[in-house]
């Protein structure tokens, strides 16, 4: 079967998925978005040092804070996933291990992102 294919066909394989740049762009876009978000996050966390739960709840119940917190969480975990994916694809050899690691990272980071968003919503809506 392999011998019947032309050299050009073998080189082309299944063809391009046409999404080669998408990953790169997504990583850059999330990186740019994370610059202000991370600075805001650090300022927010530092200013909340020593605060009790009630204070934090009042703070998070404000629309802007909750919005920025959810954005930070989503963008952060997406960016983390993209970065981890690059590292794994570059450095984990062996098809099975690589796919398994990629899947595990995807699941873990998605769960973390979802639980963070859920936590923000629950705390913000608790009055």
């Amino acid at each position: 079967m392999a011998q019947l294919r032309s050299s050009l066909g073998r080189v082309r394989g299944l063809g391009s998925a046409k999404e080669g740049v998408g990953h790169w762009w997504a990583q850059r876009v999330t990186a740019i978005a994370l610059v202000p978000l991370a600075i805001w996050f650090v300022i927010a966390i530092v200013s909340l040092i020593g605060a009790d739960y009630a204070t934090f709840q009042l703070w998070l119940a404000q629309f802007g804070n909750a919005l920025l917190m959810i954005l930070t969480v989503i963008v952060l975990f997406y960016h983390a996933h993209l970065g981890m994916q690059v590292v794994i694809e570059d450095y984990v050899h062996g098809e099975g291990t690589r796919v398994a690691t990629l899947l595990a990272v995807k699941f873990v980071l998605a769960s973390l992102a979802a639980s963070c968003v859920l936590a923000v919503v629950l705390v913000a809506l608790r009055s």
Partner: protein, 236 residues
């Protein structure tokens, strides 16, 4: 109230430590005590704490106060100290350590009620505590600071002399914020911005690479310092 606590913590820790240090044990036993007089017990405790403090200075051990601050949260240990005294026949009026209320309210605990249900104003508000239950002088043993305390690793050798200097005591009592996390975050941020510049095609000359690398390191260190100063300003 505080001195009592300190006394008890001192007794607690030193009763365990002194078993290993026979010198410490004999040192304590030289103080006279009458078992049926509460005031005598109290003064005995005070006196022994004082003596232990001097002894600890000589032996380069942490002072009773220091140990008291570190270990007061472990009520079980204090309780075991009580049992030791009970075995010695000391009356319960002197034995009972003044400690936090039995029902400790966790400031970070989540209320049991459903978060989306309409709040029944009083009960829902009382489910979590709005006030930090730990007094000021015990704050460094708060749950928030427990891990930094472990990380601090205050060994006997260098806390020994330091804790007898009041100004350095203030320094020792500061919470320790996670320096490494700040630095890693700012390092990644700085390097990410540097990488974005590369993506735009800027800064590929060797001299520029050196400059941007140094600038990134300076940014990481400076931002960490600023964040830590802010943290100590806000959190004390």
């Amino acid at each position: 109230m505080r001195s009592k606590r300190v006394c008890w913590a001192a007794w607690d820790t030193y009763s365990t430590k002194a078993s290993a240090l026979s010198t410490g044990a004999s040192f304590l036993s030289t103080i006279p005590i009458s078992a049926d007089d509460p005031t005598s017990c109290r003064s005995w405790l005070k006196q022994s704490a004082l003596r232990l403090r001097r002894f600890s200075f000589a032996a380069m051990l942490p002072s009773p106060e220091h140990i008291g601050i570190v270990r007061l949260r472990t009520l079980t240990r204090v309780q075991s100290g009580c049992n030791d005294l009970k075995a010695k026949g000391i009356p319960s009026t002197a034995r009972e350590p003044s400690r936090a209320p039995t029902k400790r309210v966790n400031a970070h605990a989540f209320p049991r009620t459903s978060p989306l249900s309409a709040p029944s104003s009083l009960s829902a508000a009382n489910d979590f505590c709005a006030v930090d239950p730990a007094p000021r002088h015990r704050r460094s043993t708060d749950r928030r600071y427990a891990t930094p305390y472990l990380v601090a690793g205050r060994s006997r050798l260098w806390t020994g002399p330091i804790q007898h200097c009041p100004s350095l005591c203030w320094l020792l009592d500061r919470p320790i914020y996670p320096l490494g996390i700040y630095f890693r975050g700012f390092y990644h941020l700085g390097n990410g911005i540097r990488h974005l510049a590369w993506d735009f095609g800027w800064g590929f000359e060797l001299s520029q690479l050196h400059t941007s690398g140094l600038a990134m390191l300076a940014f990481a260190c400076g931002a960490t310092a600023i964040a830590l100063v802010a943290a100590y300003t806000v959190g004390g």
